[in-house]
Symmetry: C2
Subunit: 379 residues, 2 copies
């Protein structure tokens, strides 16, 4: 472990967009950054060498999943998630709040925390802010997330307010439970649904507690891109300029680009790997459904602009054959390509911000995504 201080260095801005580097105990992350999701201590269908080779510098793991299997104490005995899975870069852990709400059965929420039954074997578990933070500490998360309730969408103003305020009390308890270490950070999570006043109140509350970074939670839960962007517009201005900002669980390429334009620095999403397992390939000219018979004789690679073997060295015809034959290699190549595509987008947008041409780049990117390959009907 190095003794690097945790913190964001901003190299430049272009409008609200920022480009920089986040320094951590386990390595430097170029921002805006996309973080592949390694829920159960594996980025699904990918070797970590390939995750690294795409330019990924930080990955996610999930408190909820690891508590249930293989168990937090077991992973701790192996030196934490990073050592357990062989990842030597920075790791961000989800606090488990979101997954308890979306996956667990028979959950009971109280001021203390959440009691729930495992979606795997029905076993009973109790998670509190203190317990979640303790586990993330034990599992050697470079970035620990505060324990929160992800307010569902839609929610009335009253429901969103009550939920957000409990999350803010939990944020304070999370902060108290966090064990500061050089190069490690704790992020607070802004809630408040789609209500501007609640988002502002939440952001201010978190600033008052003080965190190493600020996440925007409770979005990408069905509200749609326009409401999501509107909510970012009324949230981000309340976050401190000098700290990293993380939009949780987002998203499609154009969601990410639009959020970067609104000042977000970090993203995570299962989409590139999940799409890889459902035969979707993201490309410069929009997504392709590799099950489609039109690819059967297409000698072109997926996307030559992406610097990745999976993107450049295999014909669409071969990938289509693998998918039709239900061969694992098809999922492996598409997952690898999709993560590489996402990281190429991030590298391109970082360069565009650095060179103060982000708006023009974004316009070109959106136009190309709209279907230059005649693939729009695929999506």
């Amino acid at each position: 472990m190095t003794n690097t201080a945790f913190g964001l260095e901003i190299f430049g801005t272009d409008g609200a967009a920022r480009v920089g580097q986040l320094h951590t105990a386990h390595g430097v992350i170029d921002t805006p950054a996309f973080m592949p999701v390694g829920t159960a201590a594996t980025v699904k269908g990918m070797f970590l060498d390939h995750v690294r080779s795409t330019g990924s510098q930080i990955i996610l793991a999930n408190t909820y999943h690891l508590i249930l299997r293989p168990g937090a104490e077991r992973v701790q005995r192996f030196g934490g998630v990073r050592k357990f899975m062989n990842w030597d870069g920075p790791l961000l852990m989800d606090s488990g709040g979101y997954q308890v709400m979306s996956l667990a059965k028979l959950r009971t929420i109280s001021e203390d925390g959440v009691t729930f039954a495992s979606h795997i074997d029905g076993s009973k578990h109790h998670l509190t802010p203190e317990r979640s933070i303790q586990i993330q500490n034990q599992l050697d998360a470079t970035i620990t997330m505060a324990f929160d309730e992800c307010t569902p969408f839609p929610a009335t103003h009253d429901v969103a307010a009550d939920s957000m305020r409990m999350s803010m009390r939990w944020a304070k308890r999370s902060k108290n439970a966090f064990e500061p270490r050089p190069g490690y950070g704790l992020f607070g999570i802004v809630q408040g649904g789609v209500y501007a006043d609640l988002r502002a109140e939440s952001a201010e509350a978190l600033r008052g507690i003080d965190f190493e970074g600020f996440a925007v939670g409770g979005l990408a839960v069905g509200e749609g891109q326009e409401l999501m962007f509107n909510t970012l517009d009324v949230t981000v201005p309340h976050l401190p300029h000098e700290k990293p900002r993380y939009l949780m669980g987002v998203g499609k390429p154009l969601d990410i680009v639009g959020a970067v334009a609104r000042g977000i620095d970090m993203f995570d999403c299962v989409l590139p790997t999940r799409s890889g397992r459902t035969a979707q390939a993201f490309t410069r000219f929009g997504p392709l459904n590799m099950r489609n018979a039109k690819h059967a004789d297409d000698a072109r690679p997926l996307d030559e602009s992406v610097p990745c073997d999976a993107s450049r060295n295999y014909s669409r015809a071969y990938l289509h054959h693998l998918i039709k034959s239900e061969e694992l290699l098809g999922l492996m190549l598409l997952s690898w390509h999709n993560v590489a595509f996402y990281q190429k987008v991030m590298a391109d947008l970082r360069a565009a911000i650095r060179e103060k041409r982000f708006a023009a780049w974004m316009q070109t990117f959106a136009a190309e995504q709209a279907g230059g390959d005649g693939e729009a009907a695929d999506d």
Copy 2:
């Protein structure tokens, strides 16, 4: 394509075992060689870089599967199987005879060939020696296999004799259909069930036709190791010394070692990759069932003696976790490790033959396989 003449160079022998190199248009193969199986133009669950890194120098593909999907003409348009799948080394193709018998539906065998229905979509196909060889030529197989009938086990002497003699007439037709090219070879396949006189008759018939190599077919079909070894004992002496000998579809590590002791040079088997997908790991001290809970806290890697990341850099506990969580990475790592283990065995036995200590090596290997890790009950 180089202009290398196809042929086996024998560096040394130890008893009946031989060590050498097979020269082909697409590269040199150290023998005895294990050939990973790439049925549908992919070694299941593996990237070709990893296949190569294990020391694999030649892989298999299957005429039967590729006819059905994606279609032989389509693969031919892409320059053959090697170009279609991105493999730049030698490729051996199965003639389809075995798969027609074991997989296809509604098959009718006549002197002309076999009519069958696809196991995928029921479509009707007709395969003859001429058609099989033509397809293998078109698909750029470095080594083409004669079209034969794999005699089932058990079979009476009469049935085995009739089946073998038809295969010998098909072998002659295969030879006539084969288009000789420098560095390419056609292998005949010895049949005759477990009957010494029939195996001798078949071997002599093939020698009369003349091939670049000689395969022993119709074994590993349920007869057991002892009968298989007995059959090799009465077959191999009838094969020419200077040509490569290939035992088809074999087998477990000790099957391979025993067959090498009987003068076999080449092997193929789905076992390392198939076992990888069913959570079995081959190791120096015998196979492990990675589903077994006893691995849950085991920090040891699978087998440090195998020079492969998958064998050395991941704890058994982590692999157990991946398997229990049904994560693709578990299958990917086990498949990779298993192929690497097989290739380590081949490298070790080649060195032992070269140094005239094969019998002693074999004894140690068999003793270690018998369960030095207390794992015998796993198998």
